[in-house]
């Protein structure tokens, strides 16, 4: 149990998908102008990562490992992820047209969000069991959502302040992202004993 908890904290905070592994930076800069959009994106990505990692585990275990088809890993994973994204897109369109409009092009782009494939590949590398890999995927995506929401909050404030013209817009956003990453480095000091 303790190992589970530690693994989840590690996945969410210490080895954060965005700030430590630098995955999913496209959506990190793209949809963090408003907190509600970022939260929606975080929710959608959490769903996709969790579901696809479960499916990927099954594919890896029962298909690729069983028949020695390791070289097909990337193709099959992308296939699974793309289907999960399509499914999510349809659901969101049905449930919340407003969120659908706000996420815009970034919603189908979850397919190519490297955080999704990255987490799936990390799971294979870690050779985890079904339960722990699902937990790991979920914790990673929660970490992703957390950073998205924090950064969106920062950018909402950033939009109001008078930034010197040289830094206005994306430059100051990148500087803030760097500071946020440095702040998250502090989590690596969590004592495990």
């Amino acid at each position: 149990m303790r190992d589970f908890a530690l693994m989840m904290i590690g996945a969410a905070l210490v080895n954060n998908v965005i700030l430590a592994r630098f995955l999913g930076l496209c959506s990190f800069m793209g949809v963090t102008t408003r907190v509600d959009t970022a939260a929606g994106m975080g929710l959608a990505t959490t769903f996709v990562i969790t579901v696809s990692s479960m499916a990927d585990w099954a594919v890896q275990h029962y298909l690729l490992d069983a028949y020695g088809l390791g070289f097909l890993r990337t193709v099959t994973f992308i296939l699974v992820i793309a289907s999960a994204v399509q499914f999510t897109e349809m659901t969101i369109k049905k449930v919340s047209p407003k969120l659908f409009q706000m996420l815009g092009i970034y919603l189908p782009l979850i397919t190519t969000n490297c955080a999704v494939l990255g987490v799936a590949l990390l799971l294979v590398e870690g050779k985890m069991g079904f339960m722990s890999s699902t937990m790991f995927a979920f914790a990673s995506s929660v970490g992703y959502s957390l950073v998205m929401i924090i950064f969106a909050g920062l950018r909402e404030r950033l939009a109001l302040v008078q930034v010197p013209r040289l830094f206005a817009g994306p430059p100051i956003a990148f500087i803030v992202a760097g500071m946020l990453a440095m702040a998250f480095m502090g989590f690596s000091g969590i004592a495990t004993s």
Binding site: A159, L160, V161, Q162
Partner: protein, 503 residues
């Protein structure tokens, strides 16, 4: 009242600007000689503009009705000098835009002859409605600066069963001393006017709030009110904006007027001391509101002080009377905190004009605005408990709805935040801008809705006309067919016979 009470009662908002009221406040009131020509604006109050009822060339007496009130919230306008109407035209409005508005020009005959007046002999035995009616007919509006017509406010107070009348002698704006002067020179008029207002609204007590930087006014008013136990003179700490109604109510009665309610709904009604004096004149002397005390002050004025001047007098005439030391760098109608900047001095004074300030270059200097350093001084100063820095930041980037979420509509534009801002950010202008834009957006939304209704009405009308046309055509066709059939019938016997024969 113990020391601790006093300490606890001190409000935790507001600012202490240097008041600059003296020496102008101590100079005896001067009577402004009748000007050669006055420009009587038709819109000197909140609500609908008055409708002129005089012709060019017509002779009028002082106090004669020259424009009627129009609509529920409006006030009539009376001639402030006797003479001849020379034009019904336009004059620059006392407004920051410098746009013109309608005004009646009267060439004075220099005699200042009053029209015959009919004072109310015993107002306290008359019905309260009679006082309200006469106040409305005299064109009395709130003279503190809001210029809301007094009579509808009386009616509102009566309807909502107001128990307490608050007489506002706060005059917290620096430089101004017209209310101070009226309390010093005519305290009986103010007290009597307050009693008349109490009678009109059915109030049982009156609290006169006067800032403690006006000891002479407090003494004079105490003496005048000595005979009337229901009127209490309450000295107030000198603090800006003490003269704002919500703040005054809070300090005097402890009641906080809710954001979405009017003061009258909490059982109190606020009237300015000058308004009370105007009510007194309207009822006891039968004189409409055509003159007022106006403070002329500022570094550019040679002999600052208070003038008793007819409404509609050009500001330039007043300046000629008091003398200018130098060309004013900035002109303000009202006080320096909330007053209206004027573009030039060819503007007539109106009912709400409590003062004209002519600032010299040193007084008019405005430092350049810097960025917000989030010191939070503005939030401490704000008497409404708002967050000016948050609102201004949102307005700056055009997020007006965001500013509205910080209760922008509760802002009273008192200027405390801008006064204390170490970065000299023109916060009030941000808020005025945003409020104006939001009102305009609201208006255009209403307009869109009205347009939709009009379009629907037109479509419905055209459909109806088409239908009627079709129906009429069908009817005509039926009639024609019937006529044809009848004609055919008349001609058929032969045909039938032949048909029958052939069958």
């Amino acid at each position: 009242m113990g020391f601790l009470d006093r300490f606890l009662k001190t409000p935790n908002w507001g600012v202490h600007p240097e008041d600059h009221k003296r020496p102008a406040a101590d100079v005896p009131l001067r009577l402004f000689p009748s000007p050669e020509r006055i420009f009587m604006p038709l819109h000197q109050h909140v609500g609908g503009a008055a409708r002129p009822i005089v012709m060019v060339g017509q002779k009028v007496l002082k106090g004669q009705l020259i424009a009627q009130a129009q609509g529920n919230i409006s006030a009539p306008i009376h001639a402030s000098v006797s003479g001849t109407i020379s034009a019904v035209g336009e004059v620059t409005a006392p407004h920051p835009s410098g746009l013109p508005f309608k005004a009646i020009t009267i060439d004075s005959d220099g005699e200042n002859r009053w029209i015959d007046s009919e004072p109310l002999a015993d107002p306290f035995s008359a019905a309260p409605e009679e006082i309200t009616k006469r106040t409305a007919a005299a064109g009395v509006v709130g003279l503190g600066g809001a210029t809301f017509p007094a009579a509808p406010k009386f009616a509102l107070g009566k309807r909502l069963k107001v128990t307490t009348l608050i007489v506002n002698g706060g005059e917290c704006e620096p430089y101004l001393s017209s209310d101070d002067r009226i309390m010093r020179d005519y305290p009986e008029m103010v007290i009597d006017g307050a009693r008349l207002v109490m009678h009109a609204i059915g109030a049982t007590q009156a609290l006169v709030g006067i800032e403690n930087n006006k000891p002479e006014a407090i003494a004079a008013m105490r003496q005048a009110a000595a005979a009337f136990p229901e009127i209490k003179i309450c000295p107030l700490p000198a603090l800006y904006p003490m003269g704002s109604d919500r703040q005054l109510i809070k300090v005097l009665t402890g009641i906080e007027v809710p954001s979405d309610a009017r003061a009258a709904e909490t059982g109190v009604l606020v009237h300015n001391v000058s308004t009370c004096a105007a009510v007194h004149k309207a009822i006891r002397l039968g004189q409409p509101l055509v003159e007022r005390i106006i403070t002329i002050n500022g570094g550019a004025i040679a002999a600052p002080g208070n003038l008793y001047a007819p409404l509609g007098t050009m500001i330039s005439d007043l300046f000629a009377f008091v003398g200018l030391k130098e060309a004013p760098s900035r002109l303000i109608l009202g006080g320096p905190m909330m007053g209206t900047p004027l573009l030039h001095d060819r503007i007539p004074i109106v009912k709400g004009a409590s003062g004209i300030l002519a600032f010299n270059a040193a007084e008019a200097f405005v430092p350049e605005a810097g960025p917000c350093i989030r010191c939070g001084n503005c939030t401490k100063a704000c008497p409404m408990g708002l967050l000016p820095l948050e609102m201004a930041a949102r307005i700056r980037v055009g997020d007006l709805e965001g500013a509205e979420k910080f209760e922008l509509q509760d802002c009273i534009s008192c200027g405390c935040c801008a006064y204390v801002c170490p970065s000299h950010i023109p916060l009030v202008q941000y808020f005025s801008h945003a409020k104006g834009e939001l009102t305009a957006a609201e208006r255009s939304k209403l307009r869109t809705e009205a347009t939709k209704r009009l379009v629907e009405a037109k479509t419905a009308r055209i459909e109806r006309e088409e239908r009627e046309k079709l129906e009429a055509a069908a009817r005509r066709k039926a009639e024609r067919d019937a006529a044809k059939a009848a004609a055919a019938k008349a001609a058929t016997p032969v045909a039938e016979q032949t048909q029958g024969a052939s069958a």
